[in-house]
Amino acid sequence: MLLIHCPYCEETLPELEFAYAGEAHIARPADPSALSDEEWRDFLFIRTNARGPHFERWRHIHGCAQFFNAVRDTVSDRFLMTYKAGAPRPDLSPKEDAE
């Protein structure tokens, strides 16, 4: 079982207490009606599908109930870090340069 560090509880807890909630840092467009169909499609459906570090949302649903963000390596399934919702996307530049 994966162990996930909740940045609000400040504890590392079993995956069964958490729910996955999709890719992180996807902002809802401020004025949806100004978007073209293609832009709206991209917002709704087009995701990174990363091989390697993936920025994703999790919710500590059986716990503090908060949403937070995590960076998980989709190859190894290792959690690289977690951080609070609203915090900026962490810089992983050495890894991104390797792409």
């Binding site: 079982m1 609000y8 509880c9 400040e10 807890l13 079993p14 995956e15 069964l16 207490e17 649903i61 059986h62 716990g63 503090c64 109930a65 908060q66």
Partner: protein
């Protein structure tokens, strides 16, 4: 209701407690102290920490969420309503949502381990947490080394009690 008393009852006791008032408080951090003064109850900021005063108890469940137990709800809701204009919040009575079990005895950690993926033994005495037992969200209060309370949503209670009865029988059989 209490479980049937068998000769292994000293190792594990599961009892349903009488109903008491239960409230859910949501308030932003900047208004927490104001609410605490109005309720006459310190509201701890660390998730899992508890406070108690005058028969009332508070457990911090999240950065802006507290569970409050009290003999009755109306005094608390009235005190909070009086400061609503300067300290906006949500204080909702949820007394009927859950049934509280008292779990105690030497085997209680083994019982909890059958349903909780979290290491309940690591929960310090006097703290609490919201977690999961099998598939049901529960709130656990650790009152002593082998004394716990568990709040279970009432519709999940038969499921939780059935699993506990099974675990109790297995523990009694030495499995």
């Amino acid at each position: 209701m209490t479980t049937q008393k068998h000769d292994f009852s000293a190792a594990l006791q599961i009892e349903e407690l009488a109903p008491s008032a239960r409230l859910s408080l949501r308030v932003r951090p900047q208004h927490r102290a104001q609410l605490a003064r109005a309720l006459g109850l310190d509201l701890p900021v660390r998730i899992g920490d508890r406070t108690a005063a005058d028969g009332r108890e508070a457990l911090c469940l999240g950065p802006d969420e507290w569970l409050i137990l009290a003999p009755e709800a109306s005094a608390l809701t009235a005190a909070a309503a009086a400061i609503y204009a300067t300290a906006p919040h949500s204080l909702t009575e949820i007394s009927d949502r859950e049934i509280t079990l008292r779990l105690s005895g030497a085997s209680v950690l083994d019982l909890l381990a059958t349903g909780c993926p979290r290491d309940i033994a690591a929960l310090a005495e006097g703290r609490g947490c919201r977690t999961v037992f099998d598939s049901a969200t529960v709130t656990i209060w650790r009152d002593g080394p082998t004394a716990f309370r568990m709040d279970v949503w009432r519709s999940f209670l038969p499921h939780v009690r059935n699993l506990m009865a099974l675990a109790e029988a297995e523990l009694a059989a030495g499995l």
